[in-house]
Subunit: 303 residues, 4 copies
Amino acid sequence: MEGDLVPLNLERVSGILPLGGTILGTSRTNPFKEPDGAERILRNIGALGIDAVVAIGGEDTLGVALRLYDEHGVKVVGIPKTIDNDLSGTDYTFGFDTAVHVATEAIDRLHTTAESHNRVMVVEVMGRHAGWIAVMAGLAGGADAILIPEYPLTVEDICDLVQKRAARGKRFSIIVVSEGANLIWRSGVEQTVTQSAETDDFGHIRLGGVGSVLAKEIERITGYETRVTILGHVQRGGTPTARDRVLATRFGIKGAEMVQNGQWGMMAALRGDAVEAIPLAEAVKEYKLVPRGLYELARTFFG
Amino acid sequence: MEGDLVPLNLERVSGILPLGGTILGTSRTNPFKEPDGAERILRNIGALGIDAVVAIGGEDTLGVALRLYDEHGVKVVGIPKTIDNDLSGTDYTFGFDTAVHVATEAIDRLHTTAESHNRVMVVEVMGRHAGWIAVMAGLAGGADAILIPEYPLTVEDICDLVQKRAARGKRFSIIVVSEGANLIWRSGVEQTVTQSAETDDFGHIRLGGVGSVLAKEIERITGYETRVTILGHVQRGGTPTARDRVLATRFGIKGAEMVQNGQWGMMAALRGDAVEAIPLAEAVKEYKLVPRGLYELARTFFG
Amino acid sequence: MEGDLVPLNLERVSGILPLGGTILGTSRTNPFKEPDGAERILRNIGALGIDAVVAIGGEDTLGVALRLYDEHGVKVVGIPKTIDNDLSGTDYTFGFDTAVHVATEAIDRLHTTAESHNRVMVVEVMGRHAGWIAVMAGLAGGADAILIPEYPLTVEDICDLVQKRAARGKRFSIIVVSEGANLIWRSGVEQTVTQSAETDDFGHIRLGGVGSVLAKEIERITGYETRVTILGHVQRGGTPTARDRVLATRFGIKGAEMVQNGQWGMMAALRGDAVEAIPLAEAVKEYKLVPRGLYELARTFFG
Amino acid sequence: MEGDLVPLNLERVSGILPLGGTILGTSRTNPFKEPDGAERILRNIGALGIDAVVAIGGEDTLGVALRLYDEHGVKVVGIPKTIDNDLSGTDYTFGFDTAVHVATEAIDRLHTTAESHNRVMVVEVMGRHAGWIAVMAGLAGGADAILIPEYPLTVEDICDLVQKRAARGKRFSIIVVSEGANLIWRSGVEQTVTQSAETDDFGHIRLGGVGSVLAKEIERITGYETRVTILGHVQRGGTPTARDRVLATRFGIKGAEMVQNGQWGMMAALRGDAVEAIPLAEAVKEYKLVPRGLYELARTFFG
């Protein structure tokens, strides 16, 4: 967009494997939301002699990349990167394993803190459109319930479960909730609660909000002391897991190959244990949701 | 209280070094708040043939222990354990180093996530009466501002600092805030904000609340996107740091020694590099606050 | 073998998710190496009313399981667990991701310790028959060379690479070596060196030996100070990664399903993103080696 | 020495808190071992207009700093940094807490790997002159024996202890040994063993050697399978603990203060909870050894 350029020579990428975040210092912007955004990109590509654009990101970034390719003929290949793992066409995106690792570590720590009887811990994790982090970290960490955008579960269902655990002598319950989960109530209180909570443009309770609202509702209904942990951007940063690094490396090599082969409009994707090139259009057509089978597997361990 | 007993023989304590939480499964309760609480304790001590009570905890637990000793002649020694480090008479309590470790790791992760310009991260850490965790983790993690119960800093001061950083080209700011910090405003908005936020019995904005309120205020005043991380009980659990384990071991040995010597009403305390016995009365007389010198040292790195 | 039984009821498995090691306290033994081993197993199965045997392990354990099924009609299903990932028929075994995580963390730490010029770090990791851990951790950690059982690389090749890096101004080199790698020399020194080193029954330099011998040879040939890190069993223990826990959970559920379906002589296996039942015979027929393509990918980053 | 200069302005030190290693890229060298070393330093100090030298390191570095001050009048202040914690005059040096953390984590992992009966794990940690890391990590990790340079313990003593544990039904033993520990034998085998092992200039078995030799001897004497872990430089690197960062920050601030005050020939030192200036001569006069009381405390938990 700005014609800003950082040549990624050997020296500059030396030592970056253990680093999180972006070393380029880029921020996301949507060129199609600015009057002459696409034109500026085309001009810069021409002026700077850029042979190909390697777009690294999730649904937003790759959606823009696809439009640049489709509508403006920009030579684009895509690399799937999002901690949310909600991109279609690839088994995994990089960043996801690290986010699950961080969230699981937090749940592990909560498991050891039960001091009193009848305590509830609510952990809000990332996942605006899909519950991948919540389901995987919940499974790995032994959550007693997992609330995600894909499958409804009422606040009262969760309270029932918490109370049944208490009745069985369990000292506490851990509830994992995606930031994008919709809180619903069997009873008619929904209106009041969600109206007093702030909601974002998508109509979801504002980030950092769904966990707090859920915690308050659990405490109100069950009378049990309820605490909330909101991990927020802690899930996005820090040193990536070995698996994420290997996946990113494989995607990077595939991306270079795709550029050499002129496979424009395509994205590197993990399919089983192979990295393949698939059409960007397939990746961004819709969010990849947690399949019912996986959610049911996690549900086996609820309560 | 209940006459419940778990003999801590070698077998039972084998392998507990790396574990967090309580292996006894005790929960805190105040016997002096129940009609015959102290009497029940005395009866149980007699009936079970208990020679001495080793009370392990912070201001609350040790305050009760002191009353049992002072008012009822119970043979008590104290061991200082609280993640908050706010107990007088000892340089450190165990649990604190681990909590600082967890909070610092979270701040480290936030440092790598800056994707856009002008983003603010608010991290709420534990510390209801004193800002020890906030100051130590903030120093270790490189916080741009630290807000603790002891020293006032207005919301507008923090916003100024965030804006000055942005003006110097810094991509983002990290603000660490103790759960017990009082939010104050230079301007007259305080009433509105704190009235709409829930407050606890101490008049503080409810836990998991001060961070969220601060984040919303920063966003309102500066217009910068602001995200919140609330670590909550994650700071209390998990495997303790090596230093906490060594400290706990030294305190435990001192406690056994104090029982053997009949040093009732005393507490093991770290003074410099030595573990000494001090009167419980000295430990619980008032919260140990962050000294101004240490806070000023941290303040050197603000902005 | 011994008729020792631990019923795994809900209570006993509660809270084991974050634990490493075996909670059963089993040790590996080969019943076919004892005169009446198989007979004792059959007798115990009958006497204890055991409906099915779920064998959890790698090539050794599952090979025995297969023989019990084939030769004695024992109702057996297999679960693939080995940190070495060298079992055929499944993309991954659980334990592997954790071992790679530990080894990568060690390599990361070594990267930051370069104080002097011309220093070499040798890291010996597990992998007696196959170089999976070395290749994955080497890729993730940015090793400058990786030496595994599958693909020969002479000691002199490694020294050349180290010297070329030094000539390019690199301060140090990190060499990752599988415990089962064969050291070979272009020149004729092999005899001397391997004769003075202890070798095991397979003719390999004894464990904890190949790393030390390689380090000494590099120091002798290049004159550069060379240090060795031998991780040993540190790779086998500790809290498993989230991915390993989810994989183990999915394998466990599949195992229960296989028992219900009477799929004897079969093993749960990960194929792409699906867990399927495959014949045990396919899993144990030969070690799964690192494919040339993956090794070549890692080799791209050598030097 | 070389007149190489890196100005440490705000930009250059921004973001270094979580990093291990040296960002300056310095390596240790002894100017007094080169014909005109001290003279070159003096010339460079003059030519570059350097007002003061802040020497950061352990006994070697600070010993040189002291000679530069004493013999050549160089304006020097010292900052105590060594993972070994063997510097006199200060309770702690920075780097030490991190090394203990890494070693403890390794011991924790070993604790969970016991698969067979009668297995012994030997962990070699750093500490050439003093056993600080071994004692602290051994205490924190629950070592069954700790062997350090300061206090003799024969190989046979260790084997007795291992066998007694086995007799009590313990599945395995963990032995922590400092790299600088002297192996001694009650019997007369010493000559043979140490002659076949390489020894360094100090007459110690060569680094990465004492652990391996000890492991072999334990296996030979007890017949128990014995494995070795050699952490090596893994202990020196990686992200520092929060405590090390705070300590380094406090030392840094004290160093700046000492320069402003012209306290040449002095070193920042931790005394209890205060950072004070002490004469460099006091710090480097002799290695700070593990006091007998602390070793006896650790010994309480042997076996």
